[in-house]
């Protein structure tokens, strides 16, 4: 009986050596796995950060083009339909480039002279405000705001000038990659989703399949609605501005459309440059007030809130303003300006997914409980 207790004490040298070897091998293996895993995570993070933008743009483009391709699929095969859409899109984009190029050169030339003028005017305005503030509240110290604003504006201008060639390269890369990705998403998107869903275990496959259908339908509606809304708001503002004497109307329209993707804050940011330019160039006259009315009343209240949002976007996707701020700040921290624009839609996407799962579960719980309440009379009948 004693032998099991005795045995460990009497380990031979060979056994100790073996135990030592096994232990150190285990520790080495653990370290190796850990370090390779962390480097793998690092690698995949690098790869993801490169792929993030092209994937995002191609997904959005896929959501936009999918209904058109589906309509064409009734006549041709899906691949032929995609090619037709691509040829049309190519024609449209080249026309757009032809139209925009001269404006674009003029825009840059004017920006070089106009931007310092706008900033100096803004600084003058700020100075007068500070002076009047000083008169009324003399105990406020002079923080040198105008100087800070001037250096900030100069930095911004320098950054824009330095980044433009770089971002042009990036945009050139995107112009090649995004159509390629979009082509495959359009052609094989359904197959990719069903391959992912088929990884689910048998017991949960049916629910996963159903949910993926419901969620992807909601998502495509949401993304499509948001993009169409932004395009229409941008067009309305560009058209409204070109009725006045303001310069850069198309650019301001594009800016307002893009910022319109951010709820609450976006429209305000979108109207700042337009109103500043209008004030600097046109003064506080009738045209200035028309531009203010255009931005706030026509584009935001009338077109966006009364017409577009009720038609295009379901109220399901509404986020709490606090959540919107979180999304914008976190998105800006992660991916800069683009992160700020896409942060809110991504949070909405997560919310839509969760809501869809909840309604799905609730829908099927109700009839089940009804079934339970029906059961007892059934048994009575049987007896």
């Amino acid at each position: 009986m004693n032998s099991p207790v005795q045995k460990p004490r009497g380990w031979s040298r060979a056994q100790v050596a073996l135990a030592f070897l096994v232990l150190s091998a285990a520790i080495a293996c653990g370290l190796a796995v850990y370090s390779s895993a962390s480097s793998l995570i690092g690698l995949s993070r690098t790869a993801f950060s490169v792929l993030f933008l092209p994937l995002l743009f191609s997904l959005v483009l896929t959501f936009l083009l999918d209904p058109i391709v589906t309509q064409l699929e009734k006549l041709f095969s899906r691949t032929v339909g995609i090619f037709i859409v691509y040829i049309l899109a190519l024609g449209f984009v080249s026309l757009l480039i032809l139209w925009i190029t001269p404006h674009w050169q003029e825009f840059w030339r004017n920006m070089g002279t106009d931007f310092p003028r706008y900033t100096s005017q803004a600084i003058e305005g700020l100075k007068s405000i500070m002076a009047s503030l000083h008169e009324r509240l003399p105990f406020i110290e002079d923080y040198g705001f105008p100087l800070k604003v001037r250096s900030w504006a100069e930095q911004l201008m320098a950054a824009i000038l330095a980044q433009t060639p770089q971002s042009a390269m990036k945009i050139g890369g995107l112009m090649v990659i995004v159509p390629l990705f979009t082509f495959f998403f359009l052609r094989d998107g359904r197959k990719i989703i069903s391959a992912c869903v088929s990884l689910a275990p048998n017991r949960h496959f049916e629910m996963a399949h159903d949910l993926s259908y419901l969620v992807s339908r909601q998502l495509s509606q949401f993304v499509r609605g948001r993009i169409i809304e932004a395009i229409i708001v941008g067009l309305v503002i560009a058209a409204g501005l070109s009725l006045t004497d303001i310069r850069y109307a198309p650019m301001l329209g594009i800016f307002a459309g893009v910022t319109n993707l951010i709820p609450y804050i976006g429209p305000i940011i979108g109207m700042i440059p337009g109103i500043l330019i209008a004030f600097a160039d046109l003064g506080a006259g009738a045209q200035f007030w028309w531009i203010v009315i255009l931005y706030i009343l026509v584009a935001q209240v009338l077109v966006d809130n009364f017409i577009l949002i009720p038609v295009l976007i379901s109220r399901v996707a509404n986020l709490h303003p606090l959540l919107v701020f979180f999304a914008i700040i976190a998105g800006g921290k992660l991916y800069g300006v683009i992160g700020m624009i896409i942060g809110v839609p991504i949070v909405s996407v997560v919310k839509i997914t969760l809501l869809e799962i909840r309604t799905y579960r609730r829908n099927f719980r109700l009839p089940e409980s009804a079934l339970e309440s029906e059961r007892p009379p059934l048994h009575v009948n049987r007896q």
């Binding site: 589906t70 699929e73 009734k74 359904r190 069903s194 088929s198 048998n202 017991r203 496959f205 049916e206 629910m207 399949h209 159903d210 993926s212 259908y213 419901l214 799905y360 829908n363 099927f364 009839p367 089940e368 079934l371 048994h379």
Partner: protein, 177 residues
């Protein structure tokens, strides 16, 4: 290299292909080759081990299963909590077809009895096909409706027969005996 080229160029033996299996089901027997090939693209082939639960009563039901190989037991719990076998299904049979068009919880449970290969056809795919290709989806649904109606007719016939039997049993001369 080889598997890739095989994948593209191999002519599948007719009898092992999915479309061969689908064509020989009574539901899809009248489909055109084109409809069959679109059907082949939207069904899901799932492999089950022996004694694996496919679904349980009360689960959200969203489609039907066809048995390609193996066998399936349909069962329900009676009031004592004991499983009661309702049906035993073999290759070529199908089940769960009532939830294909009308979303409802499953009314009974199903489990496999041996290693089984099932072919699932789900509502979401049918709806998507109806948007893309209405004529094909309507011919698939017509076949389905035909089989479901046949089953319904058989069921109402059975109900009438059982009611007649019951009324004979309840009639006075039977009660005394």
């Amino acid at each position: 290299m080889d598997p890739l080229w095989n994948n593209i160029f191999r002519k599948k033996l007719d009898e092992e292909s999915l479309s061969f299996f689908l064509k020989h089901l009574p539901i899809f027997s009248e489909l055109s080759p084109r409809a069959l090939s679109s059907l082949e693209k939207i069904v899901h082939v799932r492999n089950y081990k022996a004694h694996e639960t496919i679904f349980e009563a009360g689960d959200p039901g969203s489609g039907m299963y066809m048995i390609r190989s193996g066998s399936v037991q349909i069962y329900a719990e009676d009031q004592n909590g004991v499983d009661e076998e309702l049906a035993r299904l073999n290759p070529g049979d199908f089940f769960g077809e009532t939830t294909l068009t009308a979303p409802a919880p499953r009314s009974a449970s199903a489990r496999t009895l041996e290693t089984t290969e099932l072919v699932g056809l789900f509502r979401a795919d049918i709806i998507e096909l109806a948007e893309r290709n209405p004529s094909v989806s309507s011919s698939i649904l017509l076949g389905l409706t035909r089989v479901v109606s046949e089953r319904l007719q058989a069921a109402s016939h059975e109900i009438r027969r059982l009611r007649n039997q019951a009324s004979i049993q309840i009639s006075p001369e039977n009660i005394e005996t």
